[in-house]
Symmetry: none
Subunit: 217 residues, 4 copies
DNA sequence: AATGAATGAGTGTTCATTCAT
DNA sequence: TATGAATGAACACTCATTCAT
């Protein structure tokens, strides 16, 4: 097993934290490979190369690790995007940028991407929580007339569905690297942004985010 | 168990066909109640009031009945919509009408609706096949300049995701009966239809489809 | 595995009944060997030479088979004793006879005897139910002045404890075949029967009961 | 955790002894709360506020601590009773007094009482050892004609069963505070003591023993 | 064609015990 | 000595699937 996203962070912590991180990395992998529903505690433990008993030293049950992983993934993406968009003020720009970055991030870290898609679909609670930051942008944009919509739960779910669907197709290989731009363009149109401006924002070149937490030595 | 969607149609066929139809009706019910993952062959057989052995006389395995049910559901909706839209020519009108009808149909037949969402979302093969008719409308609209998009697999999946997401929220009770109009409006905007026209088409009053179980011969 | 107590009765019934009987026989054996607490469903299934899944086709859980076995054992003993004591009227005679027969029965069918001891200790509910017939004798004897006691729950439990303790020691090999007489004598003394009469009743020769349900061909 | 029975006595000894005593006190508590079978080493260690590893520094395995606790409990009761009955000479008086005191002691210290019942009932070895002092009284009484019995293992077990059964019912709340007198009366009758004398000895008022935790040096 | 008893691999979970620190 | 993370066999229970009837 490669170090994984969480394992890399835990390298300097105690043994308990390292094992926990190994389990969470393994869970991401198994969720991606088998789906959250079909993943079993045993399989996660096996993938983490620990005994099945160890799983239960660290997580109360399957639901517990699902939550932990989903929460970490959501936290990750929010933290990363927030940092990357520090300088961006325009709501439409932020939306386009965020959507494209998430899709690229998910596509270039396939396991993480699959886990993200599945977590977001599987856990409505998490969906609301993790997309709160996007909702803030949408509401701000709507107030300022950048968007021409009423922001409600349904709109948010439609908005999110466009991201997850595009990412899913990207991951399956059926969509190429323009998936992010296409999804973002669709979102902006949906929000009432004029076609030309939507196109410009969605296709403007951007630098990909780096996922890595471990700096090059 | 009341005569379900499939059972009603099989009434005139042989005994084998009737038993098969009973199983499929039962499957729809159990899938809706417990989810496809958690539905067991035994439970389906029990709901169909046949023995568990009989299940395997009619379906190779669980996957087999899932596919059969999904296929029938998709076929159903296509047939019904095609019939209902016989007189509609304008691609945008057809899109708005179709989306709204599917959502209302799914919402008013919850079991069928849940099964539809799950089928469409988790069986890509079926998704392509069942949405071929919509794709034809999109392509025609694009050629005629009604829509301003390039119709590809990604666009289709984004398009479909808006329907399934809206239907899902409708079924969970979190969205009300304007869900169909909102979803349709989002779709039209996404396709490049001017905001005003999108609004008009999506909110224009329509008569709900009947889920006619037995057509006159 | 030998035919067992329950299996013998089921020989002429359907397959389902035969398997159920095998499981109950196996349970008696495992309860005797390992104790009710430590017996596992898997071990019972294994002893019955059926798969572990079959166990759950016949019993909801371990508690279910414990109850079934205990109930059958209690029913058995009551039925047998009732029949054997049809002609006995004197309460003291009945008590002495019953106690001695149960102990001999349990001693000569060790598995059944162990299961009886453990069931009676483990299930207070069953204890009350299975000893109702003895309580009736005690109350009748008390009313007629044969016994000089107040019959209450505590007295009944003390009374029963003398039987189970004697049977247990008999089964462990630490007590010989006078265990029944000694226990009966202690009981009668405890109930206020004069020493000489208690001795006479407890040691008077009796013919052992036969357990066998299957008549010689 | 309050200082238990064993902990209090170990206060002046070394650290190792104190930890061991804490574990034994915790074991008594957990055995009472969950039953010996269902008590886990982890739970005992947790209740003793030491790590689970420490448990195995002090006891070879779970069986080991069960024995140690049982032995200490038995030793306790013998020591206490012996001291309290220093002035009593008559065998029948000693029996009645001892039985009643044990039952009251067990009833007023429920954890200890439960542990006592379980130890005595399930560890025959311990039973013989812990009841040696009572056996001496029985044998002396028999020699002197106070009792009219032959004292053997079976008689001892019947005798003890009356104590444990009465204590158990007392602990479950199904018997009240006359349980001790009733059990003692039954025992005396069983031993051949005349009914009137048995009654007098069993119901004569006595002062309850104190479960003194720390004796003055 | 239908039945339903039986199967056995699989699931989630517990816990006595070991061992590196 | 004490720690506590890790182990792995065992448990209760489920369910897709087979097969004799």
């Amino acid at each position: 097993m490669s170090a994984g996203v969480f394992g890399a962070e835990a390298r300097r912590e105690g043994k308990r934290a390292r094992t926990r991180a190994r389990l969470m990395d393994a869970a991401v992998e198994v969720f991606a490979r088998r789906g959250v529903e079909r993943a079993s505690a045993n399989e996660i433990a096996h993938a983490a190369e620990v005994s099945n008993g160890t799983f239960y030293n660290h997580f109360r049950d399957k639901h517990d690790i699902v939550e932990a992983v989903a929460f970490r993934i959501a936290t990750d993406v929010v933290r990363r995007l927030d940092a990357a968009m520090a300088g961006l003020d325009d709501a439409a720009e932020r939306i386009a940028f965020g959507t494209r970055q998430i899709i690229e991030l998910g596509a270039s870290h396939a396991e993480w991407g699959h886990a993200l898609v599945r977590s977001i679909r599987y856990l409505p609670e998490l969906r609301r929580q993790a997309t709160a930051f996007a909702r803030a942008d949408l509401e701000r944009g709507a107030r300022r007339g950048v968007f021409d919509v009423e922001v409600d739960d349904l709109l948010m779910d439609l908005f999110v569905a466009l991201v997850t669907t595009a990412l899913e197709l990207r991951l399956s290989g059926e969509a190429g690297d323009e998936a992010g731009s296409k999804a973002a363009e669709s979102q902006l149109r949906m929000l009432g942004v004029p076609v030309a401006r939507a196109h410009e924002l969605a296709w403007r070149p951007i630098a990909p985010l780096r996922f890595g937490l471990v700096e090059p030595a």
